[in-house]
Structure formats: C-alpha cells, structure tokens
C-alpha cells in the first residue's frame, strides 16, 4: 500500500514535469531569446514582440531598423495601471541600493506604473525562485528579473512562461526573456584596454606585467566574465606575456564581507610575491577592487606609477571617491551607469506591454571612469 502511494506520487510528479517541459519546448528560431548569449559579440540581435497568447516572444520581421536604434524616448506611454514586478538583486549592496533600485522606482513613478520591488537577497539562490512565485501570484503584467545566477534562470523562467508573463532579464540572460544590461565580458575588455594604455604611458615593460584577477566562483559564470574578459583581452594584446604572470586570486565573499576578503587575499598574494611590480589588477566589482587597492596601499606598494593599478567595475561611490582622490592604485572603474537603468528598462517594459517590437538585447553604454573624465560623468 505504501509502495503504491509512492508510485502514484511519482507518477503525478512526472506528469507535472512533462507539462513544464512542454511549456519550455518552444521554437528557438521563432523565439531567439531562448538561446541568445548577450556576451557574445557575434550574437545576432532581433526585434521581437511578446505574444501574450503563446506566452513567448516572437521575432517581428516587419521592422527593418537596427535593433540598437531602439530608444527610450520613443517608448509607449502606460495604458492603464500596470504592475511591474522587479526582483532586485539585493537591498544591501551599493550597486543596488544607491544606483539601480532607486532608478527603477523613480522611472516607474514618472511613467505612472506600479512597481513591486522584491529583494532577491543576493547571494541567496532560493529567494529569486520564491520571488518568482510572488510575482506570478500578484498577477504582474511584466517582470524585470535581476537574478545573478544563470543556473537557476530556467527554473525561474518556467514559472513566468507558465503564467504568460513577459520578462526583461537584467545583466544576466534568462532563456526566453529579452535582455537589458551590461556586457560583462566587454567590461573586462575595456578595463584591460585602459590598464594597457596606463602601462604604456608609464613605460612599463609589457612582458613583465603581473595580471591579477580577483575571482569569486560563487557569483556564477556571467559576472566572472568581467575577469575572464580582462584576461583574454590582455592575452590578445600582449601575447609575449608568459602564462606564469597571470594570477587568479580567490576573493569570494567571506564572513567579513567582500572588501575585507579582498584585502586579506591580496595581502597574502603580495606577501607571496614580494618583488612583483607592474601589477594590473581587476575584479568583478568595486568592492573587491577597492579591497585590492587598500591591500596594496597598506603593504606600501600602492604607487600607481610604479607598483601597479586596479580597475574596478560598477562605478560605486567608494570607488569613484578613490578614483577622484587619486591616492590609491584604484585608478579606474568601468561604469555601465546603473543609476540610469530604470530610465531604459521601464520604457522598454511599456513597449513590450503595448505590443510594440523591442530588441532582444539592449546593451547599456560602458565607460572607464578615470581621473581624466570623472567630472564629466559624475560631477560633484
């Protein structure tokens, strides 16, 4: 009897699973959002509209313009009161609390749409899935998903696809959604270009550079491309640099937080490499970049003209202050203007809801912020 019950339970489970798979089994040709890779520079971009009946995006071949020409300025106006569910990366980190989340709130208010902000509580891998349930239950008209873990994106998208809710994925691609955000690999490449230009300007011997990437395996593949993009670009530009001059330093968030973790890991690396000069370092975000720079400074090896430099990512306040002050090796940070995300994402959402064609991939602009241009982009 007990065995029979379990068998029945498993059978019901299987029926549920096949239903889920059926919903996911969509034609990738008609819906390129299912397989696109926004980080691939050769990735084709299309116009798509959301087919509410099918619960999927469909290529709209009636538009011939370049998808990159989409502009928030021409977006539709909100028709009636719409609910946009925004599953934010966190309500803890500067990037979210100071930049992205307020920009979403501000833009939603200006557009007259209701924004339900739910906290994905990065680095939780369960909260984004729980939040997807809440968005569905609240009957959201559209979801903006800022989930960093690409591994759980299919599980999240299954819920939205079943509920026929269009999704905009922020910064990390979700299969079946249009993408908005930074090109993680490009941020690495831009940081590398800046670092190499700095090395050339200071007459550093390029074949003696020490390339340090502060890695965090826990953040998943997409954000780590901010490091691998950096390393790959240097390998291409400086082929004579030996493999032994590249270092991955583990800077996963410890119990004391990302900055303290980066300081400790970098201090250890500097101790193990007492003669290392011409360091060009980067990491996935400004917290860790700031930590690397602090460790170099505290070790008495923080002269950006001789010892080395650090390039951050995100243009968070602490990094911008350090870049402006110029008293640490943190001489640049790649900005993708998180403070303006909402200005694009909310109009993009309104276009989707109005049935207008939108690009499968909308990339933000990227800029290395240094002492030379900080006042232009971030005036005091």
């Amino acid at each position: 009897m007990h065995k029979l019950g379990l068998t029945a339970a498993l059978a019901v489970s299987l029926l549920g699973a096949s239903a889920i798979n059926g919903a996911m089994a969509q034609d990738a040709a008609a819906n390129p959002t299912l397989t696109q890779d926004p980080g691939n520079p050769n990735q084709a971009r299309h116009w798509v509209t959301y087919d509410a009946a099918a619960g999927a995006y469909r290529v709209d071949s009636s538009v011939t313009a370049d998808p990159a020409s989409w502009s928030a300025a021409n977006a539709a106006k909100a028709a009636g009161r719409k609910l946009i569910c925004f599953t934010a990366e966190s309500e803890e980190f500067d990037w979210d609390v100071v930049l992205v989340n307020p920009s979403m709130r501000r833009a939603a208010e200006a557009a007259g749409v209701e924004l339900l902000l739910l906290n994905n509580q990065y680095p939780s891998t369960t909260k984004p899935i729980e939040n997807a349930d809440i968005c569905v239950q609240r009957g959201a008209d559209l979801v903006v998903s800022f989930n960093v873990f690409s591994e759980i994106a299919p599980a999240i998208m299954t819920k939205y696809n079943d509920a026929k809710i269009p999704v905009i994925a922020m910064d990390v691609a979700h299969p079946g959604s249009v993408f908005y955000g930074a090109d993680n690999c490009k941020t690495g490449a831009l940081a590398a270009q800046f670092a190499l230009q700095w090395a050339k300007d200071k007459n550093w011997p390029l074949d003696q550079l020490q390339v340090v990437a502060g890695v965090d395996p826990a953040v998943g593949g997409a954000p780590n491309c901010r490091n691998t993009g950096f390393v790959d670009a240097i390998k291409v530009a400086v082929p004579q640099l030996p493999a032994s001059n590249y270092y991955d330093v583990d800077m996963r968030t410890g119990e004391l937080g990302p900055v303290a973790g980066a300081i400790a890991a970098t201090t250890d690396w500097l101790t193990a490499h007492p003669d290392a000069k011409y360091i060009i370092a980067t990491s996935i975000n400004d917290d860790r970049a700031y930590g690397i720079a602090q460790a170099m400074k505290q070790a008495g090896r923080g002269d950006a003209a001789v010892d080395g430099i650090v390039i951050g990512k995100n243009a968070e306040k602490a990094a911008l202050d350090a870049v402006r002050a110029g008293d640490t090796p943190l001489v640049g940070t790649v900005s993708f203007f998180g403070n303006k995300y909402g200005d694009d994402v909310i109009p993009l959402a309104l276009d989707i809801l109005a049935g207008k064609p939108v690009p499968t991939i909308t990339s933000v602009s990227h800029e290395v912020i240094s002492k030379a241009n900080i006042d232009k982009y971030y005036p005091q």
């Binding site: 339970a9 498993l10 019901v12 489970s13 299987l14 029926l15 549920g16 699973a17 096949s18 889920i20 798979n21 309500e91 339900l116 902000l117 739910l118 906290n119 509580q121 680095p123 939780s124 891998t125 369960t126 899935i129 729980e130 349930d133 809440i134 239950q137 609240r138 873990f149 591994e151 759980i152 299919p154 599980a155 299954t158 395996p217 826990a218 998943g220 593949g221 996963r252």
Partner: protein, 332 residues
C-alpha cells in the same frame, strides 16, 4: 497575593492553565494562536495574502527549511546541535547532480548518493561527539568547513545544471488534489514531519530521544546505549539535510556548491517551535507551526511591501520574543 493565587492554581485539580502553558502542548497552542493572529493581520493588510495560491507559495518557500528542521528537531530534543546542515544540503545537491550527469545510476542512484553523503557526515559528527566527547558546536562547525571545501572542490566551484525531468519533478511539479495544486516540496516536507512525528510519538527510539535529552546519565544507568542513539541522531540530521538538499537542487534545477547557510534558519525554527537548547523537550508539531509562522511572516511582509531590512529585524524579534516567553513561562 499573586504568589498565593499562583500557588493555588498550581495545586488545583482538573485543567490547570499554568501547567498547560508550561507543557509542550501549551507551546504548540501558543504558536498556533500567534500564527492565526498573524494570518488575520496580514489578511487585513494585504488583499493578496489570504489566497490559496499564496498559501501554496508559502508552503513551497518553507519546504526546504521545514524538511531539515523536522530531522533537526529530534537531534535537538536529544540535546544535540548540528551546524553542518547547510553545507550538507549544498553537498547533497552537487553529488546528486554529478551522479545524474556523469553516471547511469539515474534518479535512484542520485538520491541514494546524496543521502549517503548526509549519513556519512552525520556518522562522523556523531562518532566524534559521542565517542570522543567533542563539543557539538565545535565539531559541526568544523564539519561545515570541511564539507563546504570538499563540495567546492568536487564541483570545481561551479554549479552543476540538472536536466533530468524526473529529478526536477521532485522540486518543480504539483500534486493535483481536487481544485488544489500542491507544490511537491510542500508534500515532501509534510511527509517528513509526519514520519518523524510518528517516530517520536509511537516508537521506542522516540522515547529514547526524549530520555537522552532529559538525562543522559540516567539513561546510561538504565542500560540505554546513549552513544549509539547520539550517533544515529546525527546521522538522521545529516540524512534530513541531504534530503532537503535534493529537493533544493530539484527546485533550483542545479546542484549549487555554495549557499547563504541555512543552518541558523533551521535551528531558530526548531527553537521557536519549543525545543529547548538544553534538550529533553519539544514536539514536531511545534517545529511545523514555527516554520510556517516564519514563512507567513516573511511572505506577509513582502506582500505588504515592507523592506527586507525590516523583515530581518522582525524575524530576530520573533525569535527573541519566543525564547523570552519560554523563559517567563518556566517561572510560572
């Protein structure tokens, strides 16, 4: 005056409110009332709260902590403590994913391997704690580090995606009972609670669990092999964490080697449910309602748009409140 009334009540025959308040059943009733009040408040405050679908969302959200908490309840009633639960959950998910993707053992092999990992970790914990007398706090923290390190090494610090539909069904399917679509994880949690409730209530092993937690030295004098019971309970805790890890991996569609650490959520739910850190006291029913209470609290505050910053504060306050009330109740 108060003293004499209290004394009178304590000595009164028939139903005694003070005695009931101090009892394990009293804790459960108290939690149930608190839960009903919270549900009533949220139902008034948010039009989206009192809804079958939202109830199912809450059920799925609490299922992982619920499964692990059910097993941990037994361990903590016996006076034990296991801080390696979160690490075992991650390890079990990764092991299951690797077995699924790199062997032909299928879903049965994946679950068995995951459970074996949990049992092994529990056995090591139990051996060191019972045989060598190592403090459970120290031993299981050490084991947490060891298991986390081994898991990251095994997975090469990368998540292992799971595509097996049968395995995914464990976490992503629904049981359709009449008009209700019940998420599978919720049923696994209720099943775990039911089985362990039966074990605690109706088996000799259950009686030993209370006895070991109440007075281990007396148990030894009575001929009960306390060491064996302790080792078995740590193994059960590991198995519970592994089962929770399997369900978690199925929900996520991946075995993820890192996590925010769920052991504190599990332990706080068990304590909130009325299990004393000193052991000897507690009921599975209390744990179930406590897990539900925390889940309802989180969900209700989210639906009301209360910032997660304040949600954390509220969660802490509820735990402090429960422990304080428990303390006051013992003085009655």
């Amino acid at each position: 005056m108060t003293q004499s009334v209290t004394q009178t009540d304590r000595n009164a025959g028939g139903f005694n409110l003070f005695r009931f308040a101090r009892s394990q059943e009293g804790v459960v009733v108290f939690l149930l009332v608190a839960l009903m009040i919270i549900v009533a408040v949220f139902s008034t405050a948010s039009p989206y709260f009192f809804d079958v679908r939202n109830g199912m969302n809450i059920g799925r959200a609490i299922s992982i902590i619920g499964i692990a908490s059910a097993f941990t309840t037994l361990l903590m009633i016996a006076g034990g403590l296991d801080l390696s639960i979160g690490a075992v959950m991650n390890a079990a998910g990764v092991v299951a994913a690797i077995v699924l993707s790199e062997t032909s053992l299928g879903i049965g092999g994946a679950i068995a391997a995951a459970v074996a990992v949990g049992a092994l970790v529990g056995w090591v914990n139990g051996m060191f704690i019972a045989k060598l007398g190592i403090n459970p706090l120290i031993m299981t923290i050490a084991m947490q580090f060891i298991v986390r390190g081994l898991t990251l090494g095994l997975a090469a610090s990368a998540s292992k995606v799971i595509v097996d539909p049968m395995f995914l069904a464990i976490g992503q399917s629904y049981f359709h009972i009449g008009p209700l679509s019940i998420p599978a994880p919720l049923l696994w949690m209720l099943l775990a609670m039911l089985v362990l409730w039966f074990v605690l209530r109706f088996t000799l092993f259950g009686k030993y669990v209370y006895a070991v937690g109440g007075k281990a030295s007396a148990c030894r004098r009575a001929g009960i092999n306390v060491n064996v019971i302790t080792i078995q309970l740590y193994m059960l805790s590991g198995i519970g964490a592994a089962l929770a890890g399997v369900v978690l991996a199925a929900i996520q569609g991946a075995g993820i080697p890192y996590g925010a650490g769920s052991e504190l959520s599990v332990i706080s739910a068990v304590i909130l449910g009325g299990v004393s850190l000193a052991g000897g006291v507690g009921l599975i029913e209390g744990t179930l309602i406590a897990v539900l209470l925390v889940g309802v609290l989180k969900n209700g505050m989210t639906l009301m748009g209360i910032s997660s910053v304040f949600q954390m504060v509220a969660e802490g306050l509820v735990l402090v409140g429960a422990v304080t009330l428990d303390r006051l109740k013992r003085r009655l």
